[in-house]
Symmetry: C2
Subunit: 430 residues, 2 copies
Amino acid sequence: MLSILAISLALGLSGAPALPQQPVAADAAIQATVGSAGFKAAAAALDRDFDRHVAETIRLTEIPSPPFKEAERAKVYLELLKRHGLTDVEMDAEGSVMGIRRGSANAAGGPLVAIAAHLDTVFPTGTNVTVKRTGTRLAAPGVGDDTRSLAVLLAFIRAMDAAKVQTKTDILFIGNVGEEGPGDLRGMRYLFTKSKYKDRITAFISADGTGAGNTITNGAVGSKRYHVAFKGPGGHSYGAFGIVSPAFAMANAIKRFGALTVPKTPKTTFSVGVVGGGTSVNSIPFETWMDIDMRSESPAELAKLDASFKALVAEAVTEENAARSTAQGKITAEVTLTGNRPSGQTASSQRIVQIASASIRAFGLTPSLSFSSTDSNIPISLGIPAITLVAGGTSDRAHALDEWIDLEKTSSLRGMQILLATLLTLAGMQ
Amino acid sequence: MLSILAISLALGLSGAPALPQQPVAADAAIQATVGSAGFKAAAAALDRDFDRHVAETIRLTEIPSPPFKEAERAKVYLELLKRHGLTDVEMDAEGSVMGIRRGSANAAGGPLVAIAAHLDTVFPTGTNVTVKRTGTRLAAPGVGDDTRSLAVLLAFIRAMDAAKVQTKTDILFIGNVGEEGPGDLRGMRYLFTKSKYKDRITAFISADGTGAGNTITNGAVGSKRYHVAFKGPGGHSYGAFGIVSPAFAMANAIKRFGALTVPKTPKTTFSVGVVGGGTSVNSIPFETWMDIDMRSESPAELAKLDASFKALVAEAVTEENAARSTAQGKITAEVTLTGNRPSGQTASSQRIVQIASASIRAFGLTPSLSFSSTDSNIPISLGIPAITLVAGGTSDRAHALDEWIDLEKTSSLRGMQILLATLLTLAGMQ
């Protein structure tokens, strides 16, 4: 999960948008699932199988999986998908691994439900990924974001098999690459725009992160990131005084950036994350640079902010070239797109949101909707019904070296059942 | 020499300030020196001794002497000063080495003339300082700035001894530390404010760099350098959006800095040399920083610029704390002085400038006055007559790895004689 999310719209709180008032059909569908002998047998299997689930979480966590270096973990996960009896198990051209659990005979080649956990962590090569276990608590970089979800998917397959659950549609189980920052959702981008499944997925669940299980991320916070390099002739700070400076041009751009106004709703943000440049205190730099980040819940607001940013960079360059001498050369700005996540929203009236909400209610929790930046951003931006859910347990410090999760059995199993009931209802139980 | 100097006021050029029109006494004094048997014998000794001078230049160049790591070269130079028969040879508390060539018997403890070359180069530990010799050309980092001048001082002592030259005042020969950037003139600062010679030096010559020998640096370009760290609470670029950012505060400061107006005369400059800060594109930085440089020929203008800079940093911080939320913490700025070179000028009417000009004329060249930032900045700022001179030869690429000098004999000897005649006239020949 890209970030711990600030906006969680608790349903029923005054002022927060409520879900549409016709949840009856969804509740009925979930009750049918949860009340079925098949689901009960699957839930019992999850319970019996829990220690293996924990062990699998540890095993997978201890295989390093930095951005763009997911191959080692991907290969192990591919083998696990095979051993779990999936068909069509493959690594796609982007490096994600996946396989099909067949639905009824006539499902082949038709619409399917996909559920994914991401293989990548934010941690670079060399990070110590040994899991420290204290009771039910597991501490290790990446353990909760998102390694445990990989193990949840495997536990689901085993539970469905143990319970002889047959779904109407195929279910595609995915361990995908490229969810975290630099990956820029490359796994999902490939899956939904180039892979053989791109036109078959009619509902998508990203299983990402750990938590009570009552949060449905149906809003995709979009982002654009740029590396901007301001370049100029450079020179001696005293001898060449009076010539244009990339530092002054960049400062002008950053000051203008900081003065932009953005709406609170839909939430829209901007930030200068990293700055650098120059070689010595007594030289006018020949280059300064910055990495900037812009986000919005709204594609239109993000596009507006993006246009404003590009314009202010150009204006800052023009102003610096007018303010000082260009006799030795002009200032230029190279604006490189380094991240591009589409924003959007799966309407709360969509069946996938209704089903997930009903499942959360069925297990005694109150659903809340949230915006975040997850693998679901891609299908959401393409109009494909998609949500991101967690699978129980508790956690903290994602993206930090002291990341931990607590797989206390009762709360963990509850979250897993919410997720499984949602998945099975979407896929349809025979 | 800190930098290749932009301002060289060729005397006699229209518009350039001319030397006062009473050089007669100075010319007469120089003619007396140059026409003396002692000087002629010393000049002949310099000629005979030239190969040794070149060899000594190479030897000293090949002893690395980075800023704050001059000790190895200093020890060798100390031994050379001893072997050249100086008295009171010592390394002072700052690391500079020096010794006295006694004047007439009654000179002991009285006013003296000092001549210094600096031991330090700009090059860090590990730089290849092997000298490549091609004919009269020597290429190596630091060879011209200022190692050759160290060898010039030794050649002078040998020539004076060979010619049995006796001066009226003592002459203090110095190989000093800390001329280049980070050294911040620490060698001279100690010599003129703390050492046992601090009240005895009535005329000071810095022998620095290589060139025709007609330039007298009597103006000290002063500088102030700061490292400014802008600090704030930091946070997630999306989750914590709206809090104050060090990047915006710094940009505001830099933009204001760039908008300052400074006089062309006395030349006054400012620059942002290096910027940095921030940890990731999706975080609001908890710190950004910049290294800035301000210079002026005028102490008053430098002080004015310095005050403006400090004020604009404070204003930028105040504005950022007003523009965004300080709920998580405020922006602060830590302004650390990293360089402080006083400016000033030895008036062209001063005897030391008149004598040097007369010496240059005596060898057929046209004197020109210039401003620079050299070891002379310190005595100049204290009102002690001081100039910086070169000792003939040609050079280029100071401060670059491909630095070179050409010790073509005729031009090199001419520069050395100009410098020696100036020194001996200031010290007085018996």
